[in-house]
Amino acid sequence: MKQVLSKKHISEYYANHFDIDSIMLYIGLSDFKNREFGFVVEDNNKERFVRNISFDTSIMLKEYMVANNVKHAYIGAVYDKPPSNKNPIGKIKWIRRELIFDLDIDEYDEVRTCGCKGDEYCIDCWSLIQDAVIFIEKTMREDFGMKQIQWIFSGRRGVHGWILDRETQFYDQQVRIAILNYLTFVQGKTSGEKVDRVDALPTEAKPLRNRIYSLIAKSYLSHISPKELYEISKEIDAKISLKSLETIIKRVKMSKEFDYNSYNIIIPQNNNFREKLSQEMIYRRFPRIDRKVTMDTRRVSRMPYSIHGKTGKIAVEIKDILKFDPFNSPSVWEYVK
């Protein structure tokens, strides 16, 4: 039976179980007064979205959340003045905002073969989110030199990656777009989901290419059946037997330290097949980031540890994406009776 999220539940959770100090670990104490917050609040059974709100202290923020039946809570950017109705964010100067990646399962609708659509997900399609988290985190650390990365469960259909290295908060839209472009291989629906060719990457993008042939290739070849791979090879007339493909998949699955060297050894030296394979693996398994969330410096993002108003789940921290179970993640009803 679906439980109903009442004002009492919300109020009790934020009053007794919500640790406001943990939020400070994400957004820091400096310029707190100038930070924008946004909320979806419910009044007389009507939900409304309010933003351009700021608080003098974290205690006041908590009090607001306890008192106002907050269905969803969001954190925005820091401005030169405290955002308010008189000083809405469109009129004041933007100072900084965390660099955030948003991964939602519905972005993969075109390639999900398990039957799930939209907000639904199963263990099989959740692995797409796991792949994306691992790939993005490794790229951010190794290529971009980031050190503090924290993943949060959104409470419904995906995860948010918060980069907490302070200098990243000052990145303007151009830098954020550059990071996104570096990480985007599947162009949006409007571009016909065009896939960037991995084999056409310049020499300078070698670390990225090697990472694709390690992580994405391993995941792709572990999820595909020999028969499906055989169909792909037939499309380009690669003349590779089903038996060879069975062996390839077996070797990949058994390989404990699969990397781009293993890929080069295991995959047949057939240029057409390799090109087709790399396009398929990118299309089916490569991270699909909601670009607007990362690039828009004035956007609000879900507050860690807040309640997701539609599911009642808490936006908890994810320590290890491979061990995190979204189906059994904490909900507000575990805290309040």
């Binding site: 151009q174 409007t190 828009d296």
Partner: protein, 465 residues
């Protein structure tokens, strides 16, 4: 500041205009002469003259005068343009071209490195040697299989063995903090390693030029303080300002201007042909009653070029401007008429100004796609084309959003044009007048429309073949 190559300030070449100059005194007459010579240098097509070097037969005195001319000329031009945004843009453009030419032609690698360190900041720029040291690596280039600098690369082909010489200093690798060269990073042209982008100097040429331009813009802005403090200085620079006005106007683009066409067809009254930037400026003006200075200029020069007469334009601003509250037309004209006359070349430098091209709008005027949020763009498109089907609108908005997100504003404008007129304008829009003329032809001249569609069909067929 110090580096492997010594102190950065000491290493900076004489041609580099941000180098701290030696103290010297120049009389006003000489100052004018230097400034005029510098302007001539900019308009001279013989770029060899742009190089600055000391010949063996040059005495110490002569060399000193060359340097005085260089620094003094530039300094006066900087002051002369400081209060005028258009002239500032012109000076930045020509100084940046000069900088780029001298940078590419600079004699030693060390000279290039010192300039790059100065522009990017020492914390953000390293040689590969320095990066190896910082990250405790033996040889990063070797680690990632990048060919070491200055070597000869042997290429084998099926027919014969050829030797290709690598392209000198510009082909050598350097390391820049990745956030300083976002476009290069986004295009995956840099090897990213622990936050450092390892790139060929040639690949950051454009980014370097942009940083130079931004720094010069800041310096020019600060020069205004000198003028505020010293009114005599303001009068001193007047003749040079006029000279620049004249030169800048000569070098402005006129390619899309076709005043006869616009006047004859009465395009100024056909608002439905206006490009999104102008349409948005008009909407804003009507709702708010005022625009920013540069936006006023953009709208004013556009209206002039599509055939609005000076009197019509005065009436137009009187009708829409918030400044008219409690004023008669005569009073209003007295107050702001000068600015409108300036646009028509009837005041100030007497120049017949052109509206800015798209790239200039993106950089410093108003471009609907570069300067509005995606939400605003989508809202505005839905409102302007509310007669079109929701499906068509959503598809175009999606496409435009994708282009805007990727910084491809002129291509986004071409998509907008397609929705607006049902015809094509090429892959990108380059000028607001080009947009208007084409839109007018498609929306108002049915004979022309047929012709255009026929041409497009033919083009498509050829490209398919």
């Amino acid at each position: 500041m110090s580096s492997f190559y010594g102190t950065i300030e000491e290493e900076l070449p004489e041609w580099y205009i941000f180098r701290k100059p030696e103290d010297f005194e120049i009389d006003v007459k000489k100052w004018y002469e230097y400034a005029e010579k510098r302007i001539e240098k900019f308009v001279n097509s013989e770029q060899e003259l742009w190089l600055l070097y000391r010949t063996p037969w040059m005495t110490e005195e002569q060399w000193k005068e060359v340097l005085e001319e260089e620094i003094g000329g530039h300094y006066l031009l900087r002051l002369a343009v400081a209060r005028n945004l258009r002239l500032t843009s012109w000076l930045i453009e020509v100084e940046a071209d000069l900088f780029e030419f001298r940078f590419v032609n600079s004699i030693t690698f060390e000279e290039k490195i010192s300039v790059l360190k100065h522009l990017y900041g020492e914390d953000n720029f390293l040689t590969i040697q320095e990066l190896n040291f910082l990250l405790k690596e033996n040889n990063i280039l070797l680690k990632f299989g990048l060919v070491e600098t200055g070597t000869r690369k042997v290429q084998y082909t099926s027919k014969r063995r050829t030797t290709k010489k690598r392209g000198g200093d510009l082909e050598r690798y350097v390391a820049v903090r990745f956030d300083k060269i976002p476009k290069v990073v986004g295009a995956r042209k840099a090897l990213l390693y622990k936050g450092w982008a390892i790139v060929k100097i040639a690949d950051i040429r454009l980014s370097t030029k942009r940083i130079f331009e931004n720094r010069l813009r800041d310096i020019i802005k600060r020069s205004e303080e000198f003028l505020d403090k010293d009114p005599i200085l303001e009068n001193t620079i007047d003749p040079i300002r006029e000279k620049i006005e004249e030169i800048a106007a000569k070098s402005s683009r006129k390619a899309f201007s076709d005043i006869d066409f616009f006047e004859n067809e009465g395009v100024s009254k056909k608002i439905d042909c206006y490009p999104p930037c102008i349409y948005e400026l008009l909407t804003n003006l009507k709702s708010k009653g005022h625009l920013a200075h540069m936006e006023n200029w953009q709208l004013g020069t556009f209206l002039k070029k599509v055939g609005m007469s000076i009197n019509e334009q005065k009436q137009f601003w009187y009708k829409h401007s918030i400044d008219n509250v409690g004023q008669t037309f005569e009073e209003f004209e007295k107050k702001v008429g000068y600015q409108i006359e300036h646009i028509y070349g009837l005041a100030g430098g007497g120049v017949d100004y052109e509206p800015p091209k798209c790239q200039t709008c993106i950089d410093g005027y108003f471009c609907f796609f570069a300067h509005e949020s995606i939400e605003e763009i989508s809202k505005s498109i839905s409102l302007r084309f509310s007669n079109l089907s929701e499906d068509k609108l959503n598809k175009t908005i999606d496409k435009i959003s994708q282009l805007v997100v990727n910084g491809r504003y002129q291509e986004a404008c071409a998509e907008y044009f397609k929705l607006h007129t049902g015809g094509l304008i090429g892959s990108r829009v380059n000028h607001m007048l080009m947009y208007t003329k084409r839109a007018y032809e498609l929306l108002y001249r049915k004979d022309k429309k047929k012709e255009v569609i026929k041409e497009e069909k033919k083009e498509n067929e050829t490209s398919i073949k």
